[in-house]
Symmetry: C3
Subunit: 669 residues, 3 copies
Amino acid sequence: MEKKLYHCVAYYPELWDESFIDSDIRYMKQAGINCVRMGEFAWHRMEPRPDEIDISFFVRVADRLHENGIDVIMCTPTPTPPVWLTDGHPERLAVNYEGKRYIHGARQHVCTNNPEMRMRAAIITEAVAKAFAGHPGVIAWQLDNEMKAQTDECMCPECGKRWHEWLRDKYGTVEALNEAWGTEIWSEYYDTFEQVVQPLHTTYPHNSSLQTQYRLFSRQMINEFAFMQAEIIRRYSSAPITHDVHTNFALDAEALFKGLDFTSMNGYTDDNGYCKWLFDFDLYRGMRGDNRFFVTETSPNYSGNLDCMVRHHRPGFVEIEALGAYASGAFGFSYWHFRQHRAGCEQPHGALLTAWNKPSTGFYQVQKVEKLRAAVEPCFTATEFQKPQIAMTYSSEARAYFMTERLLEGEDYSVRMLWLHGIMERRGLRRDILPQTASLEGYKLLFTPFLPHVSDEYADRALEFVRRGGVWLIGPLTGIRTEHHTVSTDCCMGRLEKEAGITAEFFYPMSASGNRLKAFGLEAPACLHGAACTAHEGTEVLGVMTSDITDGFAFLTCRKSGKGHIAVLSALPQIGNAEGEKMLEEIFAYFAHLAGVDDTFTADPGVSVIMRRGEGRYKKVITAINGTDRDGTYLLEFDGTDVITGQSVSAGRRLLGPFGYEVIAVKTD
Amino acid sequence: MEKKLYHCVAYYPELWDESFIDSDIRYMKQAGINCVRMGEFAWHRMEPRPDEIDISFFVRVADRLHENGIDVIMCTPTPTPPVWLTDGHPERLAVNYEGKRYIHGARQHVCTNNPEMRMRAAIITEAVAKAFAGHPGVIAWQLDNEMKAQTDECMCPECGKRWHEWLRDKYGTVEALNEAWGTEIWSEYYDTFEQVVQPLHTTYPHNSSLQTQYRLFSRQMINEFAFMQAEIIRRYSSAPITHDVHTNFALDAEALFKGLDFTSMNGYTDDNGYCKWLFDFDLYRGMRGDNRFFVTETSPNYSGNLDCMVRHHRPGFVEIEALGAYASGAFGFSYWHFRQHRAGCEQPHGALLTAWNKPSTGFYQVQKVEKLRAAVEPCFTATEFQKPQIAMTYSSEARAYFMTERLLEGEDYSVRMLWLHGIMERRGLRRDILPQTASLEGYKLLFTPFLPHVSDEYADRALEFVRRGGVWLIGPLTGIRTEHHTVSTDCCMGRLEKEAGITAEFFYPMSASGNRLKAFGLEAPACLHGAACTAHEGTEVLGVMTSDITDGFAFLTCRKSGKGHIAVLSALPQIGNAEGEKMLEEIFAYFAHLAGVDDTFTADPGVSVIMRRGEGRYKKVITAINGTDRDGTYLLEFDGTDVITGQSVSAGRRLLGPFGYEVIAVKTD
Amino acid sequence: MEKKLYHCVAYYPELWDESFIDSDIRYMKQAGINCVRMGEFAWHRMEPRPDEIDISFFVRVADRLHENGIDVIMCTPTPTPPVWLTDGHPERLAVNYEGKRYIHGARQHVCTNNPEMRMRAAIITEAVAKAFAGHPGVIAWQLDNEMKAQTDECMCPECGKRWHEWLRDKYGTVEALNEAWGTEIWSEYYDTFEQVVQPLHTTYPHNSSLQTQYRLFSRQMINEFAFMQAEIIRRYSSAPITHDVHTNFALDAEALFKGLDFTSMNGYTDDNGYCKWLFDFDLYRGMRGDNRFFVTETSPNYSGNLDCMVRHHRPGFVEIEALGAYASGAFGFSYWHFRQHRAGCEQPHGALLTAWNKPSTGFYQVQKVEKLRAAVEPCFTATEFQKPQIAMTYSSEARAYFMTERLLEGEDYSVRMLWLHGIMERRGLRRDILPQTASLEGYKLLFTPFLPHVSDEYADRALEFVRRGGVWLIGPLTGIRTEHHTVSTDCCMGRLEKEAGITAEFFYPMSASGNRLKAFGLEAPACLHGAACTAHEGTEVLGVMTSDITDGFAFLTCRKSGKGHIAVLSALPQIGNAEGEKMLEEIFAYFAHLAGVDDTFTADPGVSVIMRRGEGRYKKVITAINGTDRDGTYLLEFDGTDVITGQSVSAGRRLLGPFGYEVIAVKTD
């Protein structure tokens, strides 16, 4: 893939007469589209009857696009098997938690663990890969589409078989499984692997280990399905491979992208959702350690489907989405989709063109984005997102744990993480969000919240980071469960307690318990489950509880260790509460300062400052974006030049209008 | 049927000892009941074992009623098949959207498309028809009861077979179906009709065409079931045939009543629901073009069932229900029901008598209604509801479209139509509500809102209406979908755009988008999806948007055409918002004025004025009803005589107390 | 069982290594635990494979406990059958109202009516009974655990068979059933018992008789299952047998405990729930007529499970729970549970010890309870709960009726009863809550609210009570349904009307109907369904309605009868409304006064005064408890001695802090 900023759109030429292509390309050019994504739902067009495969239509389309300077991301069409795959074969259909089989008519209704589905997916994948082998227009591949968006864990008997094999591989003997899961409880005990149930709805919650392991099993299986496709494509093509994910799908995105070649994300939010975008940018940029990602899907104007009407974005929002993405490390930004569907179930979804082939309100937004993209491209391709000094660990596994055990009190893990992220952002603390396995090289502060199971590998790496001078802030709800999703029988937080020089004496639900936390002269109510701790000698207590239950116990400690520090935040100031947010902001600031973090920024809430680094006049480039519909300011610390207008700009407080932005090449000395 | 005002009650003599009949008739007479409806759930009593049929009990009851001057509407008992029909035959039971079969024990649990059910229904229908052939007391027939009240579309395999036949009849070839439905999308494509799924719950919404066509199929099937019964009855009886519907059932009432002989409606609302009654009166009066209808069910005091307790009407409400109905064209008004059930599932439902056979609170309300009915009968039988000059089109098909595609944002079509109706009523604009196929003869203004698919037949008729001088107000959400429930690929609103002299440039969700509409010096936020239009030469722009998205585009236009005008309301002022309601009122008033509408009235909100026309002293009769529990006034334009009291009344502002009313024979010259 | 105050905990030694026992016993002693409950979920540990039974582990544990002075309540392990019982046998699994079978993995997933389950339960019960026959440490038995907590009525075909047999036993002929249930309605009629459906979800509510009878059938079946176990145990042990119930389970607790030897209750509420505790104490103390009960489960600090996090009790709450229980007649108070589960689905539930075997926050609460328990034990074992003069009838059958017919408008019967109870408590009116069959000996006032079906046996006993001088207050919603859950065809309230000297003229939904009740100079809106009555000669009208519907009719009457009075409260002052509560308080006070009730107390709302009676210095013992987190006072009528501190206390208004309490041995003369 070239070093450029891709500006892309999802394209479904198979739904329209081939004669549309010329006009489509003209429209694309008018909108500044330089890349299209296609093929992802076109299995029937490619293979109308079993083994009657013909990809030539898509090759012709790709040829025409390539002739016109438009690149292609080619997709495998596996989310939507044709009716011939399931007609007369209900056993191939996925089954939900209620034990109900889906039917043909939408997507992802087929179980991707079904052997016939696997075989058929392999055949069509190979055909597509072969057809596009060496095609100069194909700059990348996308596998399937939004895996596990609609169906989470499948409960079909075929999955049951694989589940039992997976358990056998993992635990070796059923005795080991019983011991690990503590199945003597409620006489759950299994005599054989084949007896282990799939966690279908029953009279009460299933065993936590069972539930979490089934989630991990399912996540591993769907990745296997993806990797099978990737392996086939690589036989024919050297173009990089990706998949388009969304934070709330039932996936282990970290493991998935480790097996693919670059990271892609989809995101739909209304125009108040800029903070959600920033979170996703930080998350997907860090997913593979390559400091970049691709935005595969967003709406040019509004989203929707037959069941759900969503309001139109206010003008300007799509521009800041795109600028925020490119500045944060995106090398591509893509819309869903080119022309409004005339049929199906997503007619109410916005697109660049209407079903009657005229520019929609989105088209004009896209043209504005293109103007902006073109203006920043020279600068952004000459620079890289400036690596932050703070890392926050994000874990797909943790998300699965919290689905099993609702310690986050009804909210999804990603929503709670978003809240933490927002507080850092508001304080001007730049950060990466990193998967569990990521290198900690180059960071100064590591924050590990909401990680119930801390693997030895992770702990070792974090402790090494501390030894070399890093500050590790642990908690809340971190280290409190084992790898089997049970409670540790050694102590509350496992090995972390000893390392951090604390004892977590009591661990209990603190929400509305009257507990108030005190630190840095501030006070705030506690929330969620938390631990009341005592500090070992040499451990500093930074925050204590005032509580009828655990008065005077510590909730925030810090201990020198090697050249660095290990800190524990064992209870959380209340979410969505002004006192709580203020305290958490101070906690973050304290540890950032302790860690020597010096790449912070100053801005009003909702205004973000994104930094890039390069050479010469682009040594330091500031992108300031107002994600709100009110005026907002930030502090430009040095004079500079506006990259878009070319005008000189003086250091000082800078005003940005609603959804306003500017990109400043800063004179750093 | 005689020219009188029927005062009727649902009667279940089969549930009580035959010795009750004499006392029942005495009570009926005391309450002024002159007609009873019976038989609708009595299949078991009529046919306790297959083919052991004995209708004689009901004939005896009818004889006794007739001897006492009480007429009978005789029903077929098909909503409640005896257990012998389904015992051992689960395949005859209906299946819901979740794929679950119902069981014996309630009603409508049997699939009316099941061949055995069809055959058995025919047999019992014929037996009843034969038994009452020529019976002098039977003035009318009712088929079944509240078809599709509890079960909407059935998903049983038997329905699947009929569905495939229906599709074959409609589309001829599966290729035609695929093309019409755009099934290349998501590889939905069907190779045979037999593969086409029933829209059972799956991972995402089904194809819009599939969903809507299944709804239309189901509506046609249940009508077939009704027509089969009607055809049998007609072999034996010339009494007119009806069925009792409710606006929220899964029916095509228009097509149903076209095949029957008069229109009947059921309605239950609490005592704040007078506006809902008025809407239904207008709707069912216009359903067959015969300017009349029958109210088959309402509660004399309160409704309810085992699962649902409903509060008692305040006194006076039943009187205005009845008067409003009779004045609006009802020739009968019937209660549900005579004596409280001692058993079953509707014991908490009000009735005239209690289960211990004493007058209930409802009995006394009914006596008051009778007094009123008797007082107005000479006047109302000598007059007819005065045909309004405004017609609003109501479409069962449109309702099905909006069930598939939630463009009405979560509300049922009938609720949105009720809101539009209420604004006309508040402005004193008299109107008929007409089915799509109704003649437009005699109207001055035609309003066509929320009609996604406008058939050529309808458009032709409306355009002819315009040519002859009518004003046609189109929209919102009208003409935006094809007959297959897809989006037009020609333009947003199909042929309507050219006829109306506009181009709908952009069509998008306007709710909360910041769009504000301006017209007639008023301003209001827009809601729902709407179109931003440009006007062709010769088209007047009456309203424009102020919007960040589509600033300055038109939402209200009017074009002279032939002797009339075609106007388009392409976006809707916000529902439930004072500004929006005010603007819509002005829009209606403007076009009513433009059309020369001159039969308006002036009244406080909640007070309705219903006009009837006759000869001589009843040339013009005004019925004024206060549907609220506050005082309200209306303007009596001429002196007149109070039909109930006989007293003279002077023109001027007239005060009506809570739930107050008066009927004035007006001196028009 | 000894005359002492048991302080108990649920113990699951089978989940931990046997080496834990010594340390566990030490912890128990530190916490003051003198009794443990064990075995209830340990079926697999006891019988890992069919017929391989070994109870010796539990015997060893019991030996060790006994050696250490800790008693044992031994349980049968039947709520959690091992996987070998259901593997390959889905027909043994319970089926819910949706027709869905549960699966292995939680508890109560097996149908207790399944013959194999019955047989297997009998075998394991006998094995346990045999193993502990004559064991000196086993002071009592518990059958199963929380029967019908998770699964209510089972709908499996096996239950269907028993259902048909049960109906045959009850009704003799299917004709009798049809007549009793009124099945001619909606042609529900059954030709054979085998046709009678189980009330699985269908298109509308099932017949009320069917629904209620199925509930009663199910309640009788589960009791049969319990009695089968009890019968087996009694062959081997003379220790008393109990079962632990909760008010909201699908049980007939009255019939259950009649067949067992003492009453036990579980209760979990947050720390605002003291009034709920009081209600349960009153209810379970009266269940068997032995003036005592056992609290088998409550949380020492907080409850919870994987799906549900519950906040921590504020300190002090567990002490008032325990003191309230002991004072109210509990001879045991037990926590759930000893050590936090490391696995399963209840890790988030509080316990005395953490999973890592350290004292939790609960442990210290339990130590405080122990201090208190030890202090009051001499006094409480020398006294008995002082029998109140007021009895309120509570009926499991009534609860089933109101599940079928939602006359309580969405709330459970027990919640409505709690509300009535709370008003008596607030007025200082001491009361027992009695089952329908309880003796009325010694009471002065009997209150019979919400009892739709009044059996002749009950009415006879109540009337005898009246003849001897008692006051019987009937209603609301009492006597309005027959034993088959139909409406009486004689009159609204059956024989009660004649006895009470009233006619219930109208019975209808009064909520929000505008009805206002007037009595004792007070006024309040009516709620729920109620009757508007006329009084026969000699019946005094104490309260009348002002209503547009039934103005001037009586809702509160009283008639002298024998030496006593029969009063009817035919309509209810509004629940949750200050006027309504005030009026109801006055009504209670009036009849208490009329009945000569003289054991009342005076206290602030939320402060309860519990009286015990003994000899000598413990002739009269007052326990005053503040169930709120605010200060509260009560009136101590005599001087006395504080039982806990030994200090003298003077009569007068006494202040109790939040969750405060005191126990005073009163000098009554």
